[in-house]
């Protein structure tokens, strides 16, 4: 056979004899394919026992999670994770309840600045619809004196928290998307830009909006 191989390859590279070490001669099997020979080495023990190990591990895994049901299912894992979070951070839903009696409009520069940040943050979509200066784009102008859903602090907070999903404004909830503290600052900021008269203001929809008579802190209403 090897003669034929030599002939067969004669128009290419010469077909060299395979390199076989002395300690392998006994292992050389008595067949060859196109000059390829095979040794009859044992499978490496680490490989074979590694294979057995993965099989044992797999049987154990199936027993633990599926057959005996000792391990949690992914739904149970989720329940556990949520329960742990509730324990650590308190019930987020309860925190969302807002105590309006303790809330008042903030006027300090730091709070207003934070409110402005929240307004423009890309996580929240205030600026997307109401414009970066609150002048109104898709959503109404927030700087004029005409309001559809109330212009006092409490109304504003409720509007932001619950949104108007049917009219296109998402609910920003509380605690998770905009925390309670930020909510007050955001509403205070929005109150602070009232009357700022930005460029390209959107005209109010007079069929639904009413004029606002709320006092803005720090401003004299008579002016």
């Amino acid at each position: 056979m090897s003669d034929q191989n030599k002939k067969q390859d004669e128009n290419n590279q010469p077909n060299e004899e395979n390199l076989v070490f002395d300690d392998e001669r006994d292992l050389l099997m008595d067949h060859e394919y196109d000059g390829i020979q095979e040794l009859d080495n044992n499978m490496p023990p680490w490989w074979l026992y590694g294979f057995y190990f993965t099989i044992v591990l797999s049987v154990g895994y199936l027993l633990y999670y599926e057959v005996l049901g000792w391990g949690p299912s992914q739904e149970e894992e989720y329940e556990i994770e949520m329960a742990l979070a509730a324990e650590r951070y308190g019930n987020l839903a309860e925190d969302a309840i807002f105590d309006f009696s303790l809330t008042q409009i903030l006027t300090d520069a730091e709070s207003i600045e934070r409110g402005r940040e929240v307004f423009n943050a890309s996580t929240n979509l205030c600026a997307t619809c109401h414009g970066a200066q609150g002048q109104g784009l898709v959503g109404p102008n927030l700087t004029d004196n005409y309001w559809k859903h109330g212009c006092d602090l409490e109304s504003l907070i409720i509007s932001i928290k619950d949104g108007f999903p049917n009219r296109g404004m998402p609910a920003y909830g509380s605690t998770v998307r905009i925390g309670n503290e930020d909510l007050v600052k955001l509403a205070s900021y929005i109150i602070s830009i009232r009357g700022s008269d930005p460029p390209n203001p959107k005209a109010p929809n007079m069929s639904r909006a009413v004029e606002c008579f709320e006092t803005i802190p720090g401003e004299n209403l008579s002016e």
Partner: protein
């Protein structure tokens, strides 16, 4: 022993060699383009046919089926003739195989950018092309099997075992996963829905990797390593054990692509354990390859063939260890949906498939042209460019993806998400995307230099189109010599061998699939889940055509970090009308399963027209053509009828009302957009897409009393009628 003279067909080998190199360059260049688009989204402008979502499947199909596919044929047509001591059975079938395959690839190059896609990963091509693939694959298989039957060597070498497994399994996978009902020539709906479709797809997807990118290349390794090193194979016994273990175990591991999804838990667990058991059988191949090189390592330094082989086999070893690790649920929770998977894939594709392919090319081309490699220097440059290119590609992405995943999961001390804005986690990845592009660019440079080198090698020699060989006369063995072992005997029985291979690869798929369909508790019914309205269906088909699932998943996993970010985790019962399923596998952008109702229509309009207007820094491309292109409304009735035939319970005759229903729902949305100052026509793609976006994931919410529900079949015998006994209320 009497001999006869035969001639090996080298012309077909040369043709596949040229096709491999050309498609390799094209497929990788498309990859480079989409890599650039990830950090420069307006690269090449916003042309529908060149958008990321449409080019990504072209890249994957081109490198898998065009580059690696032609390489497989190259390796098999070269080695099989010599292992069987027989010319390919039919020159006509060889030519049909070659030209048929190239025609399929060309059709993919046209249809995918035009948006004709089934959207199932690596099975995107629409049904007429899928049928053509099946036909050409059977032509290849017939030619191969007949050559094996006409062999002049009694036993089949291990490489041939792997070739047989490749042919059989790819045929089964391809046919089952492409069971669809056509709407027209270029659109179809999957015969499977939701969870079942996901299971079938990843049974296919995972085993396409196994039986298209692994087994044929193992066969190639078994031929070319001993030939190039002039060394006997390390262990015949190991070959037997790892071959059968590999093909039997591989087929079960598909569900590891669906961990923590709505796939039933038991199927996920099977996916985990069979992935873990796959380490040793995979490594069996690596060991047999590397240990064969004993005493030949000095030649590895000089011979580009062996260099590429060694790097390829090592990359194979790394990828097949990493894969099982990624299949542990706790690891998967971090790596899944991130670019980690992309790095994992490229270690295998660039290292293993690319390495073996070029090793093979450097081996075959000089031999069939009766010459030497044109430039050893260039070959060495190619080797280093490939190796370093791969390293520079994968490491930054491995690194960046893990960090991104941890950012998704990070909470503040108050228990809120640290990075509630998805964009923040993307921005961090951009330098990694740039580094990856540099690595990929280096790899392609190597491929271009290597292809030039091979071209010059071809020019410097002359093709030995029909290579003369003296072989033993063809004798039909009738008198059986007693074989030493059963397996040795089996190696001389191709039919039985093929049957046993088929049985081995069928078991896993059947055990996982059949209960998922038949046992109803696997997919608890949710009564409020309704079929899509015609408009939403059209939007969904646009989502499919644009390849949105290349970047967006629709599967929220049951983790607090995901339910805080996206909303309630996804339930199996929500997907019963999803044909095909669109769970996706990567989150370059956020999950979209609960995007419905989250933003106003006008937000979606602005976002599609210019994503950075609503999400500053977004790397999503703009889709301005949504506003200008219209949908084919007239095709709606045919779609409805096709879905009815698949069991979706639209009321009888609804196909005739579908266009009116479509128009009514669309005009309301268009009117709303007009009120916001955005004029689009009711039959624009924009309106359909917005309707689909707003529908996503909303069916399970308590007030699911939507205005636009479709009329349903009411007869008690309806197959998809939700049974109240099983109904789960949310």
């Amino acid at each position: 022993m009497a001999t006869e003279t035969i001639y090996y067909d080298n012309k077909i080998v040369r043709n596949f060699a040229i096709a491999t190199a050309i498609w390799g360059i094209i497929g990788m260049l498309v990859g480079l383009i989409i890599a650039i688009k990830l950090f420069a989204p307006n690269f090449l402008g916003f042309i529908p046919e060149l958008s990321y979502g449409r080019l990504r499947p072209l890249h994957t199909n081109a490198v898998v089926f065009a580059f690696a596919g032609n390489a497989i044929f190259l390796g098999i047509y070269y080695s099989l003739q010599r292992l069987c001591k027989s010319r390919m059975w039919s020159d006509t079938l060889s030519k049909l195989n070659f030209w048929g395959w190239q025609a399929i690839i060309v059709s993919a190059v046209f249809t995918l950018p035009l948006g004709y896609t089934q959207s199932k990963e690596y099975a995107e091509l629409e049904w007429p092309i899928a049928i053509a693939i099946a036909v050409v694959w059977v032509i290849f298989g017939l030619n191969m099997m007949m050559t094996i039957y006409n062999r002049r060597v009694k036993h089949m070498y291990v490489a041939i075992w792997f070739y047989i497994a490749t042919f059989i399994t790819v045929a089964i996978l391809h046919i089952v996963n492409n069971l669809v009902l056509p709407v027209d020539m270029l659109k179809s709906y999957s015969a499977f829905a939701g969870v079942q479709d996901a299971l079938v797809q990843w049974w296919y997807g995972h085993n396409a990797v196994a039986f298209f990118l692994t087994t044929p290349f193992l066969g190639i390794m078994y031929y070319f390593i001993p030939k190039a090193a002039n060394r006997p194979i390390f262990s015949y016994r190991l070959s037997i054990v790892h071959f059968w273990a590999l093909i039997f175990i591989y087929i079960w591991a598909g569900p590891h692509h669906l961990l923590y999804t709505a796939l039933p838990g038991w199927a996920q667990s099977l996916g985990v354990v069979f992935s873990v058991m796959l380490i040793a059988p995979s490594w069996g191949g690596m060991i047999n390859g590397l240990f064969t090189l004993r005493g030949a390592w000095d030649r590895v330094r000089q011979d580009p063939v062996l260099k590429f082989m060694v790097v390829g086999v090592t990359a194979y070893g790394m990828a097949t260890f990493e894969g099982p690790m990624m299949s542990f649920k706790s690891v998967n929770a971090i790596t899944h949906y991130t670019d980690y998977v992309i790095s994992h894939v490229h270690t295998a594709a660039l290292g293993w498939n690319g390495g073996l392919t070029f090793a093979m090319l450097y081996f075959i081309v000089p031999r069939i042209f009766g010459t030497k490699i044109y430039s050893l220097k260039m070959a060495n440059f190619h080797f280093w460019a490939a190796t370093m290119g791969m390293v520079i590609y994968v490491i930054p992405i491995y690194w960046g993806s893990v960090i991104q995943s941890l950012m998704w999961k990070e909470f503040t001390a108050e228990g809120t998400l640290m990075y509630p804005n998805f964009m923040e986690t993307v921005t961090h990845l951009i330098p990694m995307y740039i580094a990856r592009t540099i690595g990929g660019g280096l790899y392609i440079t190597g491929v271009i230099v290597g292809s030039f080198n091979l071209f010059m090698t071809m020019k410097s020699g002359r093709l030995i189109a029909d290579e003369k060989a003296e072989v033993p006369e063809l004798v039909r063995q009738s008198a059986e010599r007693k074989e030493s072992t059963f397996h040795r005997w089996l190696e001389s029985k191709p039919t039985l061998f093929t049957i046993l291979t088929t049985v081995a690869v069928l078991i896993g798929g059947i055990v996982e699939y059949v209960p998922t369909v038949l046992v109803s508790s696997n997919i608890p019914t949710i009564e409020s889940v309704q079929p899509y309205t015609p408009l939403e269906l059209e939007g969904r088909d646009i989502y499919i055509a644009e390849g949105c699932l290349g970047c967006h998943s629709q599967m929220i996993r049951p983790f607090r970090s995901e339910t805080e970010r996206y909303g309630e985790y996804s339930k199996a019962g929500e997907f019963v009308y999803d044909r095909p399923f669109l769970w996706g596998s990567k989150r370059t952008g956020p999950d979209l399963h609960r995007v419905g109702g989250k933003y106003p229509d006008s937000w979606h309009y602005m976002h599609f027209m210019d994503p950075s207007s609503t999400s500053p820094g977004s790397i999503m491309p703009a889709y301005p053509w949504f506003a200008t292109q219209n949908t084919r409304v007239e095709s709606i009735p045919a779609k409805i009828r096709t879905l009815q035939r698949l069991g979706v319970p639209y009321a009888d005759g609804f196909d005739q009302q579908a266009i009116d229903h479509y128009r009514e729902q669309a005009e309301a949305i268009a009117q709303g957009l007009a009120d916001s100052g955005f004029e689009v026509s009711w039959d624009s793609k924009m309106v359909a897409m917005i309707a689909y976006m707003q529908r996503l994931g909303t069916d399970i919410s308590a007030n699911a009393d939507r205005a636009d529900v479709v009329p349903l079949r009411t007869s008690a015998g309806a197959s998809n009628e939700p049974s109240t006994a099983e109904a789960v209320s949310y």
